[in-house]
């Protein structure tokens, strides 16, 4: 992975089991934690590589998280009649832990 500085449109999130998800930077920024990690003004390796490893979140879970980030991004400006975000109950607890970690005003 070449070191690329400067704002790239897409960033990568890596789950504990090695799955990589490419999402828009603006979607990742919905989560305060991710936004901080990827912020170009910090000296984090994640920011330099535009890649965040999340060893406490599994692949399936991370996929759901990405889905939520896009859902939030898409409906930010019109919170009126938005479709429900479907969460399978078995995932609810772990998703809660993950979202708590990812923090952010919106996450």
């Amino acid at each position: 992975m070449a070191d690329m500085s400067g704002d790239r449109e897409y960033v990568r999130l890596v789950s504990s089991d090695g799955f990589e998800y490419s999402i828009l930077r603006s979607a990742a920024a919905v989560s305060g934690t991710l936004r901080g990690m990827l912020s170009q003004s910090s000296n984090f390796v994640e920011a330099k590589q535009n890649r965040v490893v999340l060893p406490n979140i599994s692949g399936v879970l991370l996929e759901k998280v990405c889905e939520y980030l896009y859902y939030n991004l898409k409906h930010q400006n019109n919170p009126g009649n938005i479709p429900e975000f479907d969460v399978p109950p078995e995932m609810a607890l772990e998703l809660l832990v993950a979202s708590d970690f990812l923090d952010g005003k919106h996450c």
């Binding site: 939030n72 930010q76 609810a92 809660l96 979202s99």
Partner: protein, 554 residues
């Protein structure tokens, strides 16, 4: 003008106005169109026609003259309706001109020119110049339906925004955490162990469960954990006495316990707490009306000496003896005491509180009969100087005497003052308390809601005194206020004011609220119920929630 309304007389319910208009064939589109055409005619220089819109002088002569003129712009249908004008009102050219053909008559469709029989439901042509046959009319039915739908949905949206405001919720995309918590709460009965999700989220879940009333005997165990120190359940109505006891056995280390709506709590539970909860120093029981005064006696005798904070609300079984027990056991440690809606206490009983020298927070609300000027002045003389919080809501027997001889001289440390529903205070009284009140550094929370005899002088004195420290200000129903007070508020640099309630204060309008949101930098929530002069046009600064505007739901 009697009309024989042709066709079926069986109609669905309509307002009287609708029926009236329909019977007379009065159609808004047609009227508008005719008026516009008249104006056009007036503008276009047409020599011989004297088309007058001023209807009052309409005579049959001028009407017939129009019929004879061969002005190019007059259309066939208008001529035709002229002939039928004997059925129309005499109230003006315009109305006269748009007499509609009666149901039952044969007309030519304005669009497809086919012949059809006019019914009561024949739609007017788009340009108002005639009627449409059934098939042409139904073409537009789809469009009209769509219009109605969007109207309804926009009304719904307005309602949901207003509802969200009323709940003081952010109207934004729901947070993932919140969604998960909601989901968990819904499936709580199936989930075995909630695992480690942090105290803060536990409390959030407990709150949501209480809101959905799903805190039941079988879900309670999920929240009990031997290491818990603070436990707050806001709705225990579905918890039976045995479950409440469980709290005592599963969480012996708990230090602060709040149980609201715990109507099923019995003496057994309190007795169990008094033996098992060795670390308890703060207890709030709201609605435990089954607990007898004897039980309270035993409770205070057992662990009164470690109690730092005690709050009781909504019971009639707490009397002088119980209060004596508190005084006997807790005088050395009790710092916060709150008794609300404890109807069994009398004025003489309150004097027992003089023996609690360490009190810093006192609430004696909604106990009108027990609170008088003299007793409160005595209390304040004793521990006024150390009192930080004082709440005497709904103590209508209090008068200015209490303010001037009790609060002003003694309450130097007071920060939170709540005197809602106290209509015994006058404007001058309140003014005299706050004017040059040097002993006191400024109130943080001030609640004078429903003190209807207070006015500008009093509240302005309050603002002058506490502007720099106020965070929460409640002026609900102080209707005598004028906008001068609010201008003062805006110009007083209230940098910490974040919650303002001025419901039912009629003088507040769009201007005042705009200035307030501009100048008070920390404002987060404004409650404006019943302020009819605030409309949706008011420019509210971003980030400030305004709840209760009439325009939100209409």
């Amino acid at each position: 003008m009697s009309r024989n309304a042709g066709g079926s007389r069986v109609r669905g319910p309509n307002s009287a106005l609708t029926e009236f208009l329909r019977e007379r064939g009065i159609d808004a589109n047609a009227i508008r169109h005719r008026y516009e055409e008249t104006l056009q005619q007036q503008a276009s220089a047409s020599s011989d026609t004297v088309v007058t819109v001023s209807g009052s002088s309409a005579t049959s002569r001028s009407r017939s003259r129009e019929v004879e003129t061969t002005v190019a712009s007059s259309s066939r249908s208008r001529k035709r309706t002229k002939k039928k004008h004997e059925d129309s009102d005499d109230e003006g050219e315009v109305l006269a001109r748009m007499a509609r053909p009666r149901p039952g008559q044969i007309e030519f469709c304005a669009e497809c020119q086919c012949r059809f029989t006019v019914t009561a439901y024949s739609k007017a042509a788009r340009d108002g110049n005639g009627l449409l046959c059934h098939s042409c009319g139904s073409k537009y039915a789809q469009e009209e339906k769509q219009q109605k739908k969007t109207q309804i949905s926009s009304r719904k949206r307005k309602k949901s925004i207003a509802a969200a405001l009323l709940d003081k919720q952010e109207f934004a995309v729901p947070k993932l955490q919140d969604m998960c918590i909601k989901l968990i709460a819904r499936y709580i009965e199936d989930v075995e162990m909630l695992g480690d999700i942090g105290d803060f989220n536990m409390e959030k879940i407990a709150r949501i469960l209480s809101r959905n009333r799903s805190l039941k005997d079988n879900t309670l165990k999920l929240f009990l954990n031997p290491s818990i120190k603070r436990l707050h359940f806001w709705d225990c109505s579905n918890l039976c006495s045995d479950s409440l006891e469980l709290i005592g056995s599963y969480c012996p280390l708990v230090e602060s316990l709040t149980l609201s709506m715990c109507g099923q709590m019995t003496d057994k539970v309190i007795d169990y707490y008094s033996t098992n909860l060795r670390n308890l120093h703060s207890l709030t029981i709201n609605g435990g009306f089954l607990i007898t005064s004897g039980c309270w006696l035993r409770f205070f005798d057992a662990i009164g000496s470690q109690l730092n904070r005690f709050s009781l609300a909504n019971t009639l079984r707490f009397n002088r003896e119980s209060l004596e027990a508190i005084v006997r056991n807790c005088s050395g440690t009790l710092e916060e005491l709150s008794l609300s809606r404890v109807g069994s206490l009398k004025v003489e009983d309150i004097s027992l509180l003089l023996q609690l020298p360490r009190l810093t927070a006192l609430e004696l609300s909604y106990m009108r009969d027990a609170i008088t000027d003299d007793i409160m002045i005595d209390l304040l003389r004793t521990f006024g100087p150390q009192l930080v919080t004082l709440n005497l809501d709904d103590s209508g027997d209090l008068t200015d005497k209490f303010l001037l001889e009790g609060v002003r001289p003694h309450c130097g440390r007071l920060q939170n003052l709540s005197l809602a529903l106290c209509d015994g205070f006058t404007d001058i009284g309140v003014r005299d308390v706050f004017k040059d009140w040097e002993v006191n550094n400024g109130l943080i929370n001030a609640n004078f809601s429903r003190c209807v005899n207070v006015g500008d002088a009093g509240i302005q004195a309050l603002i002058d005194h506490s502007a720099k420290t106020l965070v929460v200000l409640n002026l609900n129903s102080i209707y005598k206020l004028t906008s001068a007070t609010f201008q003062l508020l805006a110009s007083s640099d209230c940098e910490f004011l974040s919650h303002l309630d001025f419901g039912f204060v009629h003088c507040v309008g769009d201007e005042e609220i705009e200035v307030l949101t501009e100048r008070c930098k920390s404002l987060q929530l404004i409650e404006a119920y019943g302020n009819i002069r605030i409309t949706e046009l008011a420019k509210i600064k971003r980030g400030v929630k305004v709840a209760g505007r009439q325009s939100d739901s209409l």
